[in-house]
């Protein structure tokens, strides 16, 4: 089975709010963000080849300021996502595939307000189970073959780390760790990721352009947080077959410069 891999970079906007960093008031910080997204998809041998695996590795960083432009906040997140989708390919629309499944996601990051005293950082760590759905549509404009994809992911259960309202991290280091890990679901967390891509062949390459909208809202331990990003993405796609281990012995299948 071949693997479809893309690495994309994105530039877009951040909209942040965290009431640990601004107790007593809801202040939005806005600014720019950049992200790097690596994606791998492969059809597995499960369910007669009707299940595919998707891996997403995302790294993002941004710089924001308050409305008065008197204070800055930086944010950075890393997340890893592994999902399995059942593939519906026999559909009445030519070129359309629908995928539905579950994914697991682990993410961690921070929002750092450069001006604050004993509440300068709001640390984030989440592990989630997500509902994940995708539509992939292959079509032509003229003679140009294109592939459009929309993916949506929504977590429905998980655990997350959250400092308590008003609690300095110094107290955590002194052993006051009660209530820092919470179960999360729709009652205290609303997260959604919308991912659009369009694959365009250009010469000997396939360029993937895209748009990634990510919305992260939590209300945990009396702290409200949101991290909203919208980024335009661009990168290169490659479809490859990986030979490893015992498959390497079957040299008839490939021509290696090394083996």
């Amino acid at each position: 089975m071949s693997t479809n891999e893309s690495t994309m970079i994105g530039i877009g906007s951040y909209n942040l709010q965290d009431t640990y960093l601004s107790p007593g008031i809801n202040i939005n910080y806005t600014g720019w963000m950049v992200r790097v997204l690596n994606e791998r998809m492969k059809v597995t041998g499960l369910a007669d080849g009707n299940i595919s695996r998707q891996q997403l590795i995302n790294v993002e960083f941004g710089s924001t300021h308050n409305g008065a432009e008197t204070a800055n906040a930086y944010a950075g997140f890393v997340d890893y996502d592994l999902g399995y989708h059942y593939r519906f390919t026999e559909l009445p629309v030519d070129g359309l595939k629908l995928l539905a499944g579950l994914s697991g996601r682990a993410s961690g990051g921070f929002i750092y307000n450069t001006r604050n005293s004993n509440n300068p950082v709001s640390g984030k760590a989440d592990i989630d189970l997500n509902l994940s759905g995708m539509a992939i549509y292959n079509f032509h404009i003229g003679q140009l073959p294109l592939t459009l994809r929309y993916q949506m992911e929504v977590p429905f259960a998980g655990v997350l780390f959250s400092v308590n309202k008003g609690q300095p991290y110094y107290f955590i280091s002194e052993g006051d760790t009660e209530g820092l890990v919470r179960f999360s679901s729709f009652h205290n967390k609303w997260v959604m990721r919308n991912y659009f891509t369009l694959d365009i062949p250009v010469g000997g390459f396939t360029v993937r352009t895209g748009y990634l909208n990510s919305m992260y809202h939590t209300n945990v331990n009396e702290i409200k947080t949101h991290v909203i990003s919208n980024a335009f993405m661009i990168g290169i796609v490659k479809e490859f077959i990986s030979f490893g281990g015992k498959n390497l012995k079957d040299t008839n299948k490939y021509k290696s410069a090394y083996y």
Binding site: N15, Q17, L21, S22, P23, G24, I25, N26, I27, N28, N66, G67, A68, E69, T70, A71, V93, D94, G95, L96, N113, R115, N116, S117, N118, N119, P120, Y137, N138, F139, H140, I141, G142, P145, N164, K165, G166, Q167, P168, Y170, F171, S173, E174, G175, D176, M192, N194, F196, Y211, N213, M215, H217, E222, K224, H226, I228, N230
Partner: protein, 349 residues
């Protein structure tokens, strides 16, 4: 594969843009930039009402403060007048950790030391440490009284003290009879440095106090006191006599350092009452973009009492005008005498 015409493609893109704009509207309601005096006054009052930690201890009726200052706020006042009014309202709290910070000024309450004797002059200190003292980790240190007394001046707990700095310093003092640890005019900084230094004077793990923070918006919505312990360092420790020198400007993390050091049998606190500042400050902001810092989390002593208004020394010593005129630091002299002649302690007191 399915083929569509460019015209149909444009239609699909239009639908896509409509869908995106729906998704983009996912922001929660937030307080926008706003320079209205009334709204900024109310925002500041509310932030303090929900998060400041010493209303009851200081017997401040914050509702009454609201009503008294509310009538002084007008929609036409300048931002400078607004700043002064808000600063005056915050000064009602008599809190050195409470500041309003704009791009043109920082409000402060410094009466906790301004109304008291200075009790520290670097010009006098220079007469003892000269110009050849050593500097490590932000500490100035040297030997006094014919190398019999170690002297350390630590002027800010923001100065990063490393474990190696402390090892070399204590090694330098190894033949001294005692140590003077001078934290006068030290306005505080990182409590982790306070712990790091204090752990060098311990023989066993001790209870040093309790921490609390506000987990609700009511004035007394505090967590249960959480015990704070400090363990001895596993590196070089100092168990010979120590005299910690204090004045009113020994504040915040320095107050916490004194709060720990006073528990130790070989330690004497000498000088003036510390300035206090036992609430860890948090920060927030108001819609005009001004930052507010305020006491948020009280650190209680081992008897679960606040030390917000300072800690009395074991031995009260003040600089005398006669000594100042002679270029002498009365407090350093008293500390040297106590280390050199511990039997004369009663006379010094």
């Amino acid at each position: 594969m399915h083929t569509i015409k460019p015209k149909a493609m444009r239609k699909h893109i239009l639908y896509g843009i409509v869908l995106l704009s729906i998704l983009l509207s996912g922001c929660e309601k937030a307080t926008e930039f706003n320079s209205s005096p009334r709204e900024n006054f109310e925002a500041l009052w509310k932030i303090m009402d929900e998060n400041y930690c010493f209303f009851e201890y200081k017997n401040v009726d914050w509702d009454e403060v609201h009503d008294r200052y509310s009538v002084q706020i007008s929609d036409t006042m300048s931002q400078y007048s607004l700043f002064d009014k808000l600063a005056a309202m915050l000064a009602e709290l008599k809190d050195g950790h409470t500041n309003l910070i704009s791009s043109f000024d920082m409000s402060r309450y410094w009466a906790w030391y301004e109304a008291y004797p200075r009790n520290f002059y670097t010009e006098l200190q220079d007469n003892y440490i000269g110009t050849t003292y050593k500097i490590a980790g932000g500490m100035k240190y040297t030997r006094l009284a014919n190398d019999s007394v170690g002297y350390v001046y630590y002027g800010s707990f923001n100065n990063g003290v490393g474990e190696n700095n402390l090892d070399y310093m204590f090694t330098y003092f190894k033949n001294c009879k005692g140590l003077i640890f001078d934290v006068r005019d030290n306005g505080g900084g990182a409590m982790s440095y306070s712990d790091r230094i204090a752990s060098r004077f311990l023989t066993e793990k001790i209870l040093t106090g309790y921490s609390q923070y506000k987990n609700g918006n009511g004035h007394n919505d505090f967590t249960d006191p959480n015990p704070l312990y400090l363990s001895p360092s596993d590196r070089i420790r100092w168990l010979k006599p120590v005299i910690v020198l204090t004045n009113r400007r020994s504040y915040s993390a320095t107050n916490d350092f004194v709060n720990v050091m006073r528990l130790l049998p070989q330690v004497t606190i000498m000088g003036d009452r510390t300035g206090g500042g036992s609430g860890l400050p948090f920060s927030s902001e108001i819609p005009i973009g001004w930052s507010i810092r305020f006491s948020a989390c009280p650190i209680l002593d081992v008897n679960m009492q606040h030390t917000e208004f300072g800690i009395d020394p074991d031995v009260k010593v003040s600089l005398t005008s006669e000594d100042i005129a002679k270029g002498k630091d009365t407090i350093i002299d008293a500390a040297i005498a106590r280390i050199m002649n511990p039997q004369d302690t009663v006379r010094i007191q």
